[in-house]
């Protein structure tokens, strides 16, 4: 079972704290109990020693000079005193005490726990030779055993009370600790709640590039938040690009669709003969084929854009341009165009090869379609500073110069040459620009009569500088 971070933290902190507190309580109880018992036993031992000094030998008789001491004993002690010689009980207080016969080491006090009449007692046992009355030495022929027993009921009760107090205190402390832990964890996790709330408030249709910007956060969360902000920013860029390209694609398809629908509406509006039906079907097929070509290009574009970062590679731009220009030879010939090219060799960029090919082929296709008949197309590539500058210009006398700012708008079609390319299947400049932007390339257009010029700037992969400017030369034909 997976616990939430809050529960996990609470359980861990609570278990650890409770364990420590319990251990602490047990240690305190043990220390207190040990200390009290030790003091009790010491007092008992002292008592046995003191009483032993009051036992004197008078010949073969044993005198006990402690009557006054014993009578002064606090009744709560429930003190039993027994003095034996061998198995003979020489003295017993109270009389007939049921104190068990314990052997004690000579000259030192042994303490033992023994129940007497069902009650807990500590028994101090001392074996010694009573001194001869008036002498300082003790003859060795007479050995007695003195036993002093005291009930531990009092101290046990005290220990029990102390134990209860400590356990109760510990329990209260644990509860307080749990509450404090809960409060601390909740407060500590508040930034995460803030982050969660902020993230949950993001409108999926309008991504915020940095939704967590401005939130006061602890240092530990800052890298995470920074990563999320960065991710959101990249997502927004990707979504914007995706949305734009999808929009461009949808709009590119509107025109052929309108053509097919219009043709179908007309042909279905009344009964037609076979000739008319055949003619309309042929027209629809032509539109559909060109639309299919467009769709294939668009489909080729889609994965390139969505996997933009993965697809980046070193692209030999010079080689790609030369290949694309050669591929267009039939188109140049078809419209009797003169192609001048000055392509600097060895220029490479970092980007998507497939995307670069689509851009080049569509730009060249547009130039072939929209250049004046028998006009000129100039293709140039030069590396300047860190940029690979691709320039494509075509003659176009009738281009409306004031429209130059609109060439990257959706649906924009270049010039009067369009009427000669009714089934043109190339992509609009608007979509070409989106594709170029995916490789961080910039694309611009300008018109200086009679030249309509498109310039694409890619970032080169090396830092090598070049002062080469386009030097145009005509192709073989």
């Amino acid at each position: 079972m997976k616990l939430s971070l809050r529960t996990n933290l609470l359980v861990r902190v609570a278990c650890t704290s409770t364990g420590i507190l319990l251990l602490l309580a047990i240690c305190i109880v043990w220390l207190v109990e040990r200390q009290l018992t030790s003091q009790f036993d010491q007092a008992l031992s002292d008592r046995a020693n003191n009483l032993s000094h009051l036992v004197e030998r008078d010949g073969t008789q044993i005198d006990f000079e402690w009557q006054s001491l014993i009578s002064e004993v606090d009744p709560q002690w429930e003190e039993n005193v027994v003095c034996r010689r061998g198995n003979d009980v020489l003295y017993s207080h109270p009389a007939n005490s049921s104190l068990p016969d314990l052997s004690g080491s000579n000259g030192s006090v042994n303490i033992a726990k023994r129940p007497i009449d069902g009650k807990p007692f500590h028994v101090a046992t001392l074996t010694f030779q009573p001194k001869q009355e008036g002498q300082t030495t003790s003859p060795e022929d007479l050995v007695v055993t003195l036993q002093v027993a005291r009930s531990t009921s009092g101290i046990d009760a005290t220990i029990s009370v102390i134990r209860s107090v400590i356990i109760a205190g510990s329990a209260i402390s644990i509860v307080l600790l749990l509450l404090l832990t809960f409060w601390s964890v909740t407060r500590g996790l508040r930034p995460i709640d803030q982050v969660t709330t902020k993230l949950s408030q993001i409108d999926p249709y309008e991504l915020d590039a940095a939704p967590l910007r401005g939130i006061q956060l602890p240092a530990e969360l800052k890298p995470l938040v920074s990563t999320i902000d960065d991710l959101m920013m990249r997502l927004q860029i990707a979504f914007d690009r995706e949305r734009n390209i999808s929009g461009e694609m949808a709009h590119e398809m509107k025109t052929p669709l309108a053509g097919v629908i219009a043709r179908c509406d007309v042909i279905l509006s009344r009964e037609r003969d076979v000739g008319e039906l055949t003619e309309s079907l042929t027209a629809c097929r032509a539109i559909a084929r060109n639309a299919a070509t467009m769709v294939e290009t668009l489909l080729a574009t889609m994965p390139i854009d969505t996997c933009a970062e993965k697809e980046l590679q070193i692209v030999q731009l010079s080689h790609e341009i030369e290949s694309a220009v050669v591929e267009m030879d039939p188109r140049w010939s078809q419209r009797s165009l003169v192609v001048e090219h000055d392509i600097q060799p060895g220029v490479s960029i970092r980007g998507s090869q497939a995307r670069v090919q689509i851009i080049l082929r569509n730009l060249l296709d547009n130039a072939a379609s929209y250049a004046d008949p028998c006009g000129t197309v100039r293709v140039a590539l030069a590396q300047m500073d860190n940029e690979a500058i691709f320039t494509l210009a075509n003659t176009c006398e009738n281009f409306p110069a004031k429209m130059i700012d609109r060439v990257f708008e959706r649906f924009w079609r270049a010039d009067t040459a369009r009427s000669e390319t009714e089934y043109h299947s190339g992509l609009g400049l608007s979509l070409i620009r989106r594709l170029a932007q995916s490789d961080d390339a910039r694309i611009n257009a300008r018109y200086v009569r009679p030249w309509f010029e498109i310039v694409v700037r890619w970032k080169v992969t090396n830092e090598k500088k070049s002062d080469t400017f386009p030097r145009y030369k005509q192709n073989a034909d």
């Binding site: 709009h251 509107k254 025109t255 052929p256 669709l257 309108a258 053509g259 097919v260 629908i261 219009a262 043709r263 509406d265 007309v266 509006s269 009344r270 027209a283 032509a286 539109i287 009738n398 409306p400 429209m403 609109r406 708008e409 959706r410 649906f411 924009w412 079609r413 270049a414 010039d415 009067t416 040459a417 369009r418 009427s419 009714e422 089934y423």
Partner: protein
């Protein structure tokens, strides 16, 4: 009724031309803005179907130039641009209607008919002059209960005269409305059609509907 189509995409342009033609309109078509503007300036049209994104001159520019010249010809903008801003801009520039591609041809025809109707001040598709009633949607005419058997040219002529009732319509206006710029029909064809039409109206009991104004043209008076 004569309609000008200015549309650069050939499949749409040819389909529009055929549909309008089959609906009884005389159609001229231009593939770019420059030619379209020239036609609009030099010929009389009852409506213009105008694409916005055009090679040469932009459709919006054509519309502005026509309106600056006080041309009141109804204009239907036809474009793939679909946003509210685009529609507002088009209508504010002087367009009478706006249709987004792809469109249904029946809707476009209905909108063109409605524009022409509004131009002549008719509120519905039925023109009533005495016993004569013309259904401009069905392209049919009746006198009382009797249906007139008219050719396409005769119908177009009758509709034109009845729409412009109480106005003298000149021969050249009739010519412009009946024939596109590529037609090479003889110049007396208007008089011939008038003759055919009068004969059919006379047999239906309306022999005096079309009056001749010598040196000016023809007139249909409202009863």
């Amino acid at each position: 009724m004569r309609v000008l189509i200015i549309e650069d995409y050939e499949p749409v342009r040819s389909s529009l031309a055929q549909a309008l033609s089959e609906d009884g309109f005389t159609v001229d078509a231009a593939a770019d803005g420059t030619n379209g503007l020239w036609l609009a300036r030099h010929y009389h049209f009852d409506a213009i179907v105008l694409d916005i994104m055009l090679p040469g001159i932009d459709g919006m520019e054509i519309l502005r130039m026509l309106r600056q010249q006080k041309s009141s010809v109804p204009v239907l903008l036809l474009t793939a641009r679909h946003t509210v801003e685009d529609r507002v801009e088009g209508l504010d520039s002087g367009a009478d209607d706006y249709l987004v591609k792809p469109f249904a041809m029946a809707e476009l025809l209905a909108r063109v008919r409605a524009m022409i109707r509004r131009r002549f001040g008719d509120s519905d598709s039925l023109i009533q002059i005495g016993e004569l009633s013309i259904d401009t949607t069905a392209k049919s005419a009746q006198v009382g209960e009797e249906t007139l058997e008219l050719t396409a040219g005769e119908y177009r002529l009758l509709e034109l005269l009845c729409r412009r009732r109480n106005q003298v319509v000149t021969r050249s206006e009739i010519w412009d409305s009946l024939y596109d710029t590529n037609s090479g029909t003889a110049s007396n064809v208007v008089d011939v059609y008038i003759g055919y039409l009068r004969k059919k109206l006379k047999s239906a009991g309306m022999d005096s509907l079309i009056e001749t104004r010598r040196g000016l043209g023809y007139l249909v008076k409202d009863y």
